[in-house]
């Protein structure tokens, strides 16, 4: 009887129920799309951030420990420059987009005192043992630098680039000559990094190795690699690769997880410890947090909107049927009978709308994925659950005014109408 009444009211009220379903379709499709984009966007943003500098740094294992404990500092342990090109030979060498060795040092700048120096490969051309042509260097890792002048060439050992803060404080301009550690250099460019490099002088690696008397030595290597977002396996491996079973190890090693790539880097760089760069990971995190916040906000707003719309529609429908519902009370229905009747009607309608909306939302997510991120968005199953819970509460809260009206409804008020 209950279901007969439900189905028949649903059919009779199809206009209103379609409106409710439509509202739900809108809300659910929006939420589904937002959440799928939100959850699927992690690796998209990750990929976008690739162009934004290095995401892995390699240090000497003792220096790494020191810098973990005391922050970045000059250490007396170094990596070997002749290992650097081996990066391209690792299993995931193809995913290594760019890299540059860095040597930190300091020297006396005539008229200014002690300054920090950075030696690197501004650009690097090489032919790998595989025959592959390599073209990399710091220039590819500092795409955001604003440069006044020109980047150093590969072996321009008598020129330097100067951070703009240091330059302006000492009134040094492009084209000037400076004396550094008693040796004259041509200032080829002034750069703006936006970070602490703005206080440093950049030169070629051989030039700094000579000043510091550290031939063939390197402090760190910056690496930009394409990585797959970490999963549980990757996190377990990051703790200790030896804890994996042989199959797991295989899977992990052959997937471009940051941890796998770091592991492989360590296999070719003597005494090296490769770590994901926290700075990038964090900025990635904040961008994600902001997107997440935005999506959550949209989801909440659309839920509230749906709840309000549903609430109006249900209340209208219940008021329209108040005679019928009052009659049911007169016939012996308790308040909860009637409330249940209305709730089930609304929930069924909501469910139908929800299913349609869900699939529509997946479609939207793909459209957003294609237009904004240029790729397919992986559908997270969890979204079904979240959307279902939201939908349940939205319809429940949306039904509250109608239910309250029903509770207060007296059969005598509607049945003796003149």
């Amino acid at each position: 009887m209950f279901w007969r009444m439900i189905t028949k009211t649903l059919i009779r009220q199809k206009g209103k129920m379609l409106m409710i379903a439509f509202t739900v379709v809108l809300g659910v499709s929006l939420s589904t799309a937002m959440m799928n984009v939100m959850l699927g966007v992690g690796d998209k943003v990750n990929r976008e951030l690739k162009v934004y500098g290095a995401n892995i740094t390699v240090r000497h294992k003792d220096a790494a420990l020191m810098s973990d404990l005391y922050g970045q500092g000059v250490s007396d342990k170094f990596l070997h420059e002749d290992d650097v090109l081996k990066l391209k030979s690792i299993f995931w060498g193809f995913n290594i987009l760019d890299f540059a060795p860095m040597l930190e040092g300091h020297a006396e700048l005539a008229g200014a005192g002690d300054v920090s120096l950075l030696g690197t490969w501004p650009e690097k051309h090489a032919v790998l043992p595989t025959g592959e042509d390599l073209h990399t260097g710091l220039k590819s890792l500092r795409t955001w630098w604003e440069i006044d002048g020109e980047w150093l060439n590969e072996d321009e050992n008598n020129s330097v680039m100067m951070g703009h803060l240091l330059a302006s404080r000492n009134n040094i301009h492009v084209g000037d000559n400076i004396t550094l550690a008693g040796k004259s250099f041509h200032v080829k460019a002034i750069f703006n990094d936006g970070g602490n490099s703005d206080e440093k002088i950049l030169m070629t690696l051989p030039a700094l190795q000579e000043i510091m008397n550290l031939p063939g030595k390197v402090s760190t290597i910056e690496v930009s690699a394409l990585t797959t977002p970490d999963n549980d396996l990757a996190r377990k491996a990051a703790q200790d690769p030896r804890s994996l079973s042989p199959e797991e190890y295989e899977t992990w090693y052959c997937t471009a997880y940051v941890s796998a790539i770091c592991h492989q880097i360590q296999e070719v760089i003597r005494d090296g410890v490769a770590k994901p760069v926290r700075q990038v990971a964090e900025s990635e995190g904040t961008i994600l947090n902001k997107t997440t916040l935005l999506m959550i906000l949209i989801t909440i707003l659309s839920s509230i909107g749906s709840a309000l719309a549903i609430s109006n529609l249900i209340t209208a429908s219940v008021i329209e049927r108040s005679q019928e519902l009052g009659l049911l009370k007169a016939l012996g229905a308790y308040n909860w009978h009637i409330a249940l009747l209305v709730l089930v009607e609304v929930m069924l309608t909501g469910l139908a709308g929800g299913v349609v909306g869900y699939f529509l939302g997946i479609g939207f997510a793909q459209i957003i994925g294609q237009t904004v991120f240029g790729s397919y968005i992986e559908i997270a199953r969890m979204v079904i659950l979240i959307v279902a819970v939201i939908l349940f509460f939205v319809t429940l809260f949306g039904s509250i005014p109608a239910i309250r009206y029903l509770m207060a409804l007296k059969p005598t008020e509607v049945l003796h109408g003149k």
Partner: protein
Amino acid sequence: MPKKILELQNVSKIYGELRALSDINLTVNAGDWLSIMGPSGSGKTTMINIIGCMDTPSVGKVILDGVDISRENAASLTRIRRDKIGLIFQQFHLISYLTAVENVMVAQYYHSMPDEAEALEALAKVGLAERAGHLPAQLSGGEQQRVCIARALINSPQILLGDEPTGNLDEENEGIVVDIFRRLHEEGVTIIIVTHDPEVGDVAQRKIILEHGKITGDIDQSATFGKI
């Protein structure tokens, strides 16, 4: 000594300044057939609502089948109404999208369990066996009211309450409905009918006249009862 099914003791219903019912005392025996008459606004509907457990008096006691219902809450009033009262109205109040038999089954559903065979039987008793599958819109006014009577009787109530049940019917259908009352009376159902229509009022055993919320007449019609 006949059994008292209903007793109103000093019942008043007060709306602000207005006493819709004023100090009503009334006793109804089981199996009685009572009509309530009176001008519009005299309190007839108010009285039916109180007896039918859809409203409570402001003052006084209402004892229905030995239970004082004047201070019960809404839920227990619903339960008592479901078990003891059958209601019919001037407007028929059938559910428009349910068939005749389904309308009867709704009352079974909220009472206990829907039983289609029993519902069909009830429809047959009011002469609507053939119309069981029709929607209210496909039935005449008289037929609709008979569906309402079948629905009111389906759970074997002790009292059948009607608020102007023939008010919207033509003479022929009024006759059919009154005949059904007559049969129910023979079966022992207590019948209380509010009516404007003297012909319907006169067929009862007893006639109460209400005016301005007070009983101004209590006429024993047993002399003429059964002869009209």
